[in-house]
């Protein structure tokens, strides 16, 4: 290598670096991030969208949990921020404020369908018929006993209730970055907790705080990653009971079995009928400022909630999404078309 070629090389590298820095290319790919529950559905919709619309690029779907996705979403307006945040819970007022503080004023909420949350154990472990109060008693920091609040003494499920299997309590719940956690706390823990007369006697402002306090002796594990990590935990520890989405369970029926909650088996039919208590709507949020700037954003949102994509007999239903009713679908479509902001 002589001086000349070396100089050439240096020049090439300098040019490519400056190219990299100045190329603030306008983005033509839709960027999505957020809930790992919505991720499979969103990915399928994105892929089908890319395959069916030759003029648009296939949207890119990231994960990070509902909280993580909405935080990214609310970072601001511009091509280096995401266009859509997937969420397995409704946006919180504080998040909406953060959005507005960063200039994201047009947040369009799109409901895509429903999903159930299930408790599952390994196929070779005990079969659970849970009541919400059982789960509360398994994870609470303090529980009422003989009229007093004592540190949680329960080590085995059978100590909580004779009908539950005689196996150690090890509960793998989603971390606080997941939208599933919020629904789990609201529909299972708080509901179960408030059935106790000692809790009903408390004033309402301390109730929630008491109900959500978790024991810290290792019987409850928070899983920050996705359901695969929860499944790995179950595979490593036979006694563990994990919290999953219904669709994840459906794909792994040979490894895990579900618990009934309140005597109801979690199935699509029971969730549609409203008898299974732990179900929630799934959403995505579209950044109104990006509609018309990022090609295909509006079309993608409409395609996602079209009957062919997420209705009965659609690919998303096959993947485990519980479809919206026709009325709801029409309402959501109107929201997208009129860009009704929150």
């Amino acid at each position: 290598m002589n001086m000349k070629t070396f100089a050439k090389l240096a020049l090439v590298s300098a040019v490519s670096l400056s190219f990299a820095v100045t190329a603030q290319a306008t983005r033509d790919t839709i960027q999505i991030a957020g809930s790992s529950t919505v991720l499979p559905f969103s990915s399928i919709a994105a892929e089908e969208f890319g395959n069916n619309f030759a003029q648009f690029k296939t949207p890119v779907v990231g994960s990070g949990g509902s909280g993580g996705g909405l935080r990214q979403f609310c970072q601001g307006v511009g091509t280096n921020t995401i266009d859509i945040a997937n969420s397995s819970r409704a946006i919180r007022p504080a998040e909406l404020e953060a959005c507005k503080a960063n200039g994201v004023n047009q947040v369009v909420e799109v409901k895509i369908g429903y999903d159930g949350i299930v408790f599952a154990s390994r196929v070779d472990a005990g079969t659970f018929a849970l009541q919400p109060v059982h789960v509360f008693l398994a994870q609470a920091a303090k529980v009422p006993q003989n009229g007093k609040m004592v540190d949680n003494p329960y080590k085995r499920w059978s100590e909580i209730d004779k009908s539950l299997p005689d196996q150690a309590i090890l509960l793998a719940i989603p971390g606080s970055n997941h939208g599933t956690r919020e629904v789990y706390e609201e529909k299972v823990i708080i509901d179960g907790c408030k059935t106790l007369p000692e809790v009903q006697a408390m004033s309402s402002d301390v109730q929630n705080q008491f109900c959500l306090a978790m024991r810290t002796d290792g019987s409850v594990v928070e899983i920050a990653g996705d359901y695969t990590e929860t499944l790995a935990r179950l595979q490593a520890q036979k006694d563990a009971v994990g919290v999953f989405g219904l669709s994840f369970y459906e794909s792994n029926r040979d490894r895990i079995k579900v618990a009934t909650v309140g005597g109801v088996v979690p199935t699509v039919d029971n969730i549609i009928a409203g008898t299974y208590p732990v179900a929630r709507p799934l959403f995505f949020y579209v950044k109104g400022e990006h509609i018309g700037v990022i090609p295909g954003l509006q079309q993608f949102a409409e395609y996602f909630i079209s009957d062919a994509t997420s209705g009965e007999g659609s690919p998303l239903e096959a993947a485990g999404l519980i479809p919206l009713s026709d009325d709801e679908r029409a309402e959501v479509l109107a929201t997208i078309r009129s860009k009704k902001v929150l």
């Binding site: 290598m1 002589n2 001086m3 070396f6 090389l9 240096a10 090439v12 590298s13 490519s16 670096l17 990299a20 820095v21 190329a23 603030q24 290319a25 983005r27 790919t29 960027q31 999505i32 991030a33 991720l39 499979p40 990915s43 399928i44 994105a46 892929e47 089908e48 890319g50 395959n51 069916n52 619309f53 030759a54 003029q55 690029k57 296939t58 890119v60 779907v61 990231g62 994960s63 511009g78 091509t79 280096n80 995401i82 196929v123 990653g225 996705d226 359901y227 695969t228 990590e229 499944l231 669709s247 994840f248 794909s251 792994n252 029926r253 040979d254 490894r255 079995k257 690919p315 993947a319």
Partner: protein, 456 residues
């Protein structure tokens, strides 16, 4: 001991005592040596065992995934179903843009056709009772294959009206069932396939209509979630390739230039010492830190696109730079000073001595160091997670500015897929591909070193 022996010379009694002492200590020394050798052999054996264990585990899981079940279907491109306008051809007076617009419209119109019907018609010929179980029948072929058939029509509209015998990938769960990756003794409620489908699949396999064929999909397709059986590594491979190009173009010239300057030209003072210490420190910085840096600087300030190989390449450049500098410097150090002195003695300038005489001799070493640095960057995943490269990307990137994943991240993504029975094997197959790439890069480095090595 020797002085003791000298002093006691002449006394036979004493001598035998000394001999005894020597014999005793000799035994002890031999024992120590044996112990050390034993420990060494054990250490080597344990590490070998672990490598073997790792490889056996990965290969036993991953190798079967290179073959995948496909069903032989005679597809009749029925003109009644596939009704398309003539494929647009660019006219002499038409601008490129207009033509592209017309072509896009034509492609969209072809996309509206229900190619699934062609597949179902073909399946009906091999599955006699298919009509009675339409829901099951629709799940036999993986959903992505209809786009493969559409593309056949787009590429060559003359196939319409003909019949072609095609091997179409079966649904991921059929592959799982036939490979025995799900416990066949489980009850119907725990199975993914309905009893009817299992019956079909078994009989089609026995007739040789479903065959286990080499999976080109694994290499030719990008990732997929709507059609799990056709998920492949092409997108991740191209993403990694673009990143490596950025690393090669940036890290190697900069690293080599920095190393030459520091080694040959820079004065030795406190400042250059400080620089040297910091370069060594930089090499020890955990890679995830570079990811944080990349996310805040390249994406936050320079507004580069998220999940793009160019950002990944820049981050990995930062990571590879110290490796290249350190490797180049040690190669330059190893070249005898006599070479430089001879050049200088004959009247060459300092830079002539370096670029005409030292550098050519150092090139094999520099190449080796650079290749090992690039191989390291190829296998890195942690910093890429932080710059958004763990997104699901269902297309093959055509430039470094387009969204993409990378091979190690694809492994991470497949590891998280919910259909564990199918993706456990797929993940191991991806690991084998990555390992093969790394091993070939490393053997290239070894070959270069052996081929061009200069002995002094």
């Amino acid at each position: 001991m020797t002085t003791e022996v000298k002093n006691l010379k002449g006394s036979s009694l004493a001598r035998s005592k000394v001999q005894q002492q020597v014999i005793n200590s000799l035994q002890k020394r031999h024992r120590q040596e044996k112990l050390f050798r034993g420990a060494g052999v054990t250490a080597v054996a344990i590490s070998l065992l672990l490598v073997v264990l790792l490889f056996v585990n990965i290969f036993s899981k991953g190798l079967p995934a290179f073959w995948q079940h496909a069903i032989k279907v005679d597809i009749y491109f029925d003109p009644a179903v596939v009704q398309i306008a003539e494929k647009p051809v660019q006219q002499a007076d038409e601008s490129d843009n207009d033509f592209r617009q017309r072509d896009l419209e034509w492609r969209s119109s072809v996309g509206m056709i229900n190619f699934n019907r062609l597949i179902l018609d073909g399946l009906n010929k091999v599955i006699p009772d298919g009509q009675a179980h339409r829901r099951d029948l629709q799940r036999v072929v993986t959903s992505g294959e209809r786009f493969a058939i559409r593309d056949m029509v787009i590429n060559d509209p003359s196939v319409i009206g003909t019949t072609k015998s095609l091997y179409l990938l079966t649904d991921a769960n059929i592959d799982v069932w036939l490979k025995g990756n799900i416990d066949r003794s489980l009850s119907d409620a725990q199975q993914q396939l309905s009893p009817k489908m299992r019956e079909w699949v078994e009989s089609l396999k026995a007739q040789g209509i479903i065959q286990n064929r080499f999976s080109f999909a694994l290499f030719m397709n990008p990732d997929s979630r709507s059609s799990l059986a056709s998920a492949g590594l092409a997108g991740a491979f191209m993403g990694s390739l673009y990143m490596m190009l950025v690393v090669i173009v940036l890290a190697i010239p900069m690293g080599v230039a920095a190393a030459i300057y520091l080694e040959e030209f820079a004065p030795k003072n406190k400042l250059t010492d400080l620089v040297e210490v910091n370069i060594n420190n930089l090499a020890a910085v955990p890679s995830i830190v570079f990811g944080l840096l990349g996310a805040s600087i390249f994406i936050g300030w320079f507004n580069l696109p998220m999940s793009a190989p160019v950002v990944g390449g820049l981050v990995l450049t930062l990571m590879t730079l110290p490796t290249v500098i350190i490797a180049t410097r040690s190669t330059l150090k190893a070249i005898p000073p006599s070479i430089r002195q001879a050049a200088l003695g004959l009247g060459a300038s300092k830079s002539q001595a370096v670029f005409h005489h030292v550098l050519p001799l150092a090139i094999p070493g520099i190449l080796t160091g650079s290749i090992i640095g690039v191989a390291q960057a190829l296998g890195e995943s942690a910093p890429l997670l932080l710059i958004g490269m763990k997104s699901f990307v269902a297309s093959v990137p055509t430039s470094a500015m387009e969204q993409s994943t990378a091979l190690p991240v694809q492994i991470y993504l497949w590891q998280g897929n919910e259909l564990r029975n199918f993706f456990e094997a797929r993940t191991s197959a991806a690991i084998i591909v990555l390992l093969a790439l790394m091993l070939s890069l490393n053997s290239l480095a070894i070959w270069l070193r052996k081929r061009y090595e200069v002995r002094w």
